[in-house]
């Protein structure tokens, strides 16, 4: 493999880890509540803006603004669950999908109106280095983003599978009625899941903001990426989303390199359609 391609592969995996992080939250909600959050891309975008605002007005470094994004988005996630999702979940599919879709519009254009449609970037600051690993050049922000995202995604997986809290969350996903009979209260857990999902999207956004330019409208692309990842990963499967995130990140970057950046999305969306036709259960889902 040429050095160039190897570099693309590494970058693809690092980006894929970030995709894995924000997609894990989406698939968790999907598995638990049978709701696809059409505003998930906006959570990522809000994370980017939260980071930007923190960095601008509080002069914090990457750790500070990522944490800020996490906290802000966690709260937003919980509020959205309580105010909207909880009631809409029980209703017809039309109401569910409209609710998060409308929310996406609302958030996107609220930020658009408040901050103008300009594309902006976050100054890399302390992370402004490029590492040379055996001939492969990796910008430090991407490396940090990929490693942190990967660690957090793994952390989420461990939380779900190794802790009591996690098993309660999974129980609700598995069979809500049975979980309630066992004394589990789904409402709080669902709110928590929304908070976690939003926070992980926010963190992913904050991390990406250190190396990607962003605008109020970039959420839409991330939402579509998340949809492809969760479908590839399999309904409700967090480990699936993690694996699929890496795969999609890789495919995207390699496509951009081979065909051109304009068409990278076309390849991913085309892959999505092929997936729906041939293997909708994804990698780790049940047939």
């Amino acid at each position: 493999m040429s050095l160039n391609l190897l570099q693309i592969v590494v970058n693809g995996l690092l980006l894929g880890a970030v995709y894995a992080l924000f997609s894990s939250g989406l698939t968790l909600i999907w598995g638990m509540m049978n709701v696809i959050n059409f505003a998930h891309g906006e959570f990522v975008m809000l994370g980017m803006f939260a980071a930007w605002l923190t960095q601008r007005y509080l002069a914090g470094g990457p750790l500070v603004f990522t944490l800020a994004a996490a906290v802000v988005l966690f709260l937003i996630g919980v509020v959205i669950y309580v105010a909207i999702i909880r009631d809409v979940m029980r209703g017809p599919m039309l109401a569910q999908i409209l609710a998060t879709f409308g929310l996406a519009l609302l958030l996107r254009y609220a930020v658009f109106w408040a901050f103008s449609p300009d594309v902006r970037t976050l100054p890399a600051g302390a992370l402004d280095h490029t590492l040379d690993l055996g001939g492969i050049l990796i910008r430090l922000p991407r490396l940090v983003a990929g490693l942190v995202a990967g660690a957090l995604a793994l952390g989420m997986h461990l939380l779900l599978t190794r802790t009591a809290l996690g098993s309660r969350l999974l129980a609700v996903a598995e069979d809500r009625q049975a979980a309630m009979l066992m004394g589990i209260r789904p409402d709080r857990l669902q709110a928590l899941a929304w908070g976690l999902a939003a926070a992980s999207a926010g963190i992913a956004g904050a991390l990406m903001a250190t190396f990607f330019p962003f605008s109020p409208l970039t959420g839409e692309t991330y939402a579509l990426t998340a949809f492809v990842v969760v479908t590839l990963g399999g309904f409700g499967s967090v480990p699936g989303a993690m694996l699929a995130g890496l795969v999609i990140g890789l495919i995207e970057q390699v496509s951009a390199y081979e065909i051109g950046p304009i068409y990278q999305d076309v390849v991913v969306y085309g892959l999505f359609v092929a997936l729906l036709w041939l293997r909708p259960q994804g990698l780790l889902g049940k047939a």
Partner: protein, 318 residues
């Protein structure tokens, strides 16, 4: 119970004449055309999204296909754009099958995700493909070569053509609603599992609904291109085109016959007003309002204004 319909019909027919005496006659007549156009698109969406309950958030796919094909025929072969209308429908039907066939055997979310992904995919491809005009788009004839180019100086002829098309589509929707197809679609929306247990071939009927819906929406796109004389990737396949159809139908009443028309009558003037007052769609305020309205409808009155009206009438009758 017939007279409200007759009154509505009479009002719609007389509208251009009624406003012709005012100062802003041309503007109001043009807005009437835009209202009818929006109503046609939303009526199309309503078949699959309202009656069958399969929420498409990428209906621009069909609108754009309907808009591009007529102008494509003109741009490359100087044919009357009108001839391209059936081709637009054909392409839309193919796209409908590509999206619906694999997803209608799965849970509803897959269909919704697929519609937005495929719409965006086509949006990007069209925006970069020279044959269809890339980012600039396509133009129709600048001056009419005959009646068939459908170029008029005034909005009024367009108004009546669009009104006729809308009336036809509403009639088709009404007939569908009354018969087995309508009942089966509503059953699918109300409870797929129960519908299946009563012998409803769910996947097949969802496809019927989608294909009918795609046809209607494609016609809306064609009408837009014929009137506007040009099309570009954003106005054809942009997400806001999809959004507009959804919100107009949902606000008026998804799954009702006149919901889309009601929604169009309210939202198009509203959008024109907010754009004028708040400085163009560039400010984004219009879409904040749209988003807010969709959330409120979803949360409090998924049946839209028509449902709300029925509820108020019912409470007053007691």
């Amino acid at each position: 119970m017939r007279w409200p319909w007759l009154a509505l019909g009479a009002l719609l027919i007389a509208y251009p004449w009624l406003v012709s005496g005012t100062d802003s006659a041309a503007f109001l007549q043009d807005m009437g055309v835009l209202v009818l156009l929006a109503a046609i698109g939303a009526t199309g969406w309503n078949i699959v999204g309202g009656y069958a309950g399969q929420v498409s958030v990428g209906h621009a796919l069909f609108f754009g296909a309907g808009a591009y094909l007529p102008l494509l025929l003109y741009q490359h072969w100087l044919l009357p754009p009108l001839l391209g209308v059936p081709f637009g429908v054909a392409v839309s039907l193919a796209l409908a099958l590509a999206v619906g066939y694999p997803t209608f055997r799965l849970v509803g979310h897959y269909f919704s995700m697929a519609t937005i992904a495929v719409a965006e995919l086509v949006h990007i491809v069209v925006g970069n493909w020279d044959f269809v005009g890339a980012a600039i788009g396509l133009q129709g004839p600048a001056t009419p070569r005959g009646w068939y180019d459908l170029i008029f100086l005034s909005s009024v002829p367009y108004y009546y053509i669009f009104l006729a098309v809308l009336a036809l589509l509403l009639l088709a929707t009404w007939r569908m609603q009354q018969g087995r197809v309508g009942y089966y679609l509503r059953a699918i929306r109300a409870g797929e599992r129960a519908a299946r247990s009563l012998g409803v071939p769910v996947r097949r009927y969802k496809l019927y609904a989608l294909m009918l819906s795609a046809t209607f929406t494609s016609l809306a796109g064609s009408l837009y291109a014929l009137k506007n004389g040009s099309i570009d990737p954003d106005y054809g396949f942009g997400i806001l085109v999809s959004v507009r159809m959804v919100i107009i139908a949902a606000l008026g009443g998804a799954g009702t016959l006149v919901g889309p028309l009601v929604g169009a009558v309210i939202l198009i003037p509203l959008e024109t007003w907010t754009n004028t007052v708040f400085g163009g769609s560039g400010s984004g305020l219009t879409y904040i309002i749209y988003g807010g309205i969709i959330v409120l409808i979803a949360r409090f009155e998924p049946g839209g204004l028509v449902e709300l009206w029925h509820r108020l009438v019912a409470t007053r009758a007691r």
